[in-house]
């Protein structure tokens, strides 16, 4: 079971907490909004990703089980 991160761009206000907690995956654009280098999170980073998602002040970062694509 792999995990993936998703940003709700409408909710995100660019607080930048996620990029501090998960620099391996998240970098900031010039305006302070997160860019995901990869949506899929390696198993070793899942606890960190979970912490980053929980720390977002507006809950705009979501850690989800990777969904099997339905036709």
């Amino acid at each position: 079971m792999s995990h993936q991160l998703r940003v709700n761009p409408i909710a995100c206000r660019g607080h930048g907490v996620c990029a501090e907690l998960l620099p391996e995956v998240i970098e900031m654009d010039p305006w302070g909004y997160p860019i995901l280098r990869s949506a899929v999170i390696p198993p070793g980073l899942v606890p960190h990703a979970r912490r980053a998602a929980a720390a977002c002040p507006v809950l705009a970062l979501m850690l989800e089980r990777a969904q099997v694509r339905r036709p």
Partner: protein, 440 residues
């Protein structure tokens, strides 16, 4: 642009026009004339025996795809809504593209074809509610549609009453989740998805959102069948579509073409170029510039346009003359698109004005040899980072401009603006006064 009722000369092949068969007398087709021209509509066949879901099979077999821009298979969309309780049908007639006139033309001259399609779709998916959404500042259009709906009510034609709703005129307000949000009492702004409207739409019910041209095709498919529909167009992209042709052509207007017609043949249909052309804008402001020689033979289908580096969009073809500057045209459109965002997503809110500024600098100031690279660096910071397709549509347009006009762009960057920037603007940009600035 102005709406012209000109089916015009049509290409050989299947008997065209189909949708536009009733246009040409410059009058709105009333119910009686509509039935005389297109035939009577039988919801369940003359015997009343047909299952309503049967229409979905026929639409699927016809291979009809959405004509609003996204090109999603209509039958599959209908099936995703059907059989899941009381559904809602929303006909999207709020033509957001300033360069498109086809939906307005259909609704103005052939309202009953669209209304037939709404009633058929509502019957097929088991809807108990149906909306026809148009821009709320189009008062004459709304009055005309209300009269057509009343005429049908007197004739007992629409088992599910069709409600006409005026929505705000912003560019992103005609996106399907914006319309659903507005019908739910919120602002007409795109929503974060999933859930998508077919899963949870108007008041949480499964909601079918279709472009009005798509529904007009459904009205003809219900009358003539899937094989008839497929007798025009290509096996992989069947049927006809409406295109809006504008720019340096003799007769700008709305034309009906078979899918797969070359862009050059569409320009010829509109009377041919009025001067040498350098490029065509295909698909509208979320579409792409293609050099004239690339576009000329490229077939107007979703896959044909993608293969040529463009997008079919809502079927817009604008001919750019050699005397115009494609960078300046793109800069004006970008300024408009940056202003038309919903202001919800950071990368779009911050990125589009930055990109619009960079393109405007290149167009009207020139650069110091680094402006082209600066634009290229901004694009990936914006792409695929919004809740809707607004930022991606805008970056696609800029990327295509940087490909089609790269020689001109390098000239601007190193030597300053070309003579073409003084050419009168070609692409229509709605003025600040005429469009509606509110969301709610």
């Amino acid at each position: 642009m102005t709406v012209t009722a000109s089916p015009g000369p049509q290409a050989a092949g299947a008997a065209l026009p189909r949708l536009l068969a009733g246009v040409g007398r410059e009058v709105v087709l009333g119910l009686a004339e509509h039935e005389r021209e297109y035939g009577t509509l039988w919801l369940r066949g003359p015997s009343g025996s047909r299952r309503p879901e049967r229409l979905i099979d026929i639409v699927e077999a016809a291979g009809l795809t959405g004509r609003g821009g996204a090109g999603f298979p209509t039958g599959r969309k209908m099936r995703s809504v059907a059989g899941r309780g009381e559904a809602v049908v929303v006909a999207n007639g709020a033509e957001g593209e300033p360069a498109s006139a086809k939906d307005r033309m259909l609704l103005s001259y052939l309202p009953h074809l669209v209304l037939d399609g709404i009633t058929l779709a509502a019957d097929a998916v088991g809807a108990t509610e149906a909306h026809l959404c148009v821009h709320r500042h189009e008062h004459d259009l709304i009055d005309g549609l209300a009269a057509a709906v009343a005429e049908r009510r007197r004739a007992g034609l629409d088992p599910v009453p069709i409600q006409i709703t005026g929505i705000p005129g912003r560019y992103v307000s005609s996106e399907q989740s914006s319309i659903v949000g507005y019908l739910n009492g919120g602002p007409a702004k795109p929503a974060f998805s999933p859930p998508r409207p077919h899963q949870s739409g108007v008041r949480g019910r499964p909601t079918l959102v279709n472009n009005v041209e798509t529904l007009a095709h459904v009205a003809l498919i219900a009358r003539h069948g899937d094989r008839w529909f497929r007798s025009a167009g290509l096996p992989s992209a069947p049927g006809t579509m409406l295109v809006t042709v504008d720019g340096a052509v003799r007769w700008p207007g709305v034309y009906e073409i078979e899918l797969g017609t070359g862009a050059g043949a569409v320009v010829a249909l509109a009377g041919g170029p009025t001067e040498d052309l350098q490029a065509l804008l295909i698909g509208g402001y979320f579409g792409a510039w293609l050099p004239a020689e690339v576009a000329w033979e490229a077939p107007l289908t979703q896959s044909g346009m993608r293969a040529a580096g463009g997008a079919l969009g809502a079927g817009i073809v604008v001919a750019l003359p050699g005397s115009s500057c494609g960078i300046a045209e793109t800069a004006r459109v970008m300024r408009y698109l940056a202003d038309q965002g919903a202001g919800q997503c950071g990368p779009c809110l911050m990125g589009l004005p930055a990109l619009a500024g960079a393109v405007a600098d290149l167009a009207f100031q020139g650069g110091r040899g680094s402006a082209v690279d600066a634009i290229a660096a901004l694009l990936p910071l914006i792409e695929r980072r919004g809740a809707c397709r607004h930022p991606d549509g805008a970056t696609q347009l800029v990327r295509s401009a940087m490909r089609a006009f790269i020689a001109d762009a390098r000239w601007h960057d190193h030597c300053g603006p070309c003579d073409g920037v003084r050419h009168a603007p070609l692409l229509p940009i709605p003025g600040d006064g005429e469009e509606d600035r509110d969301w709610a």
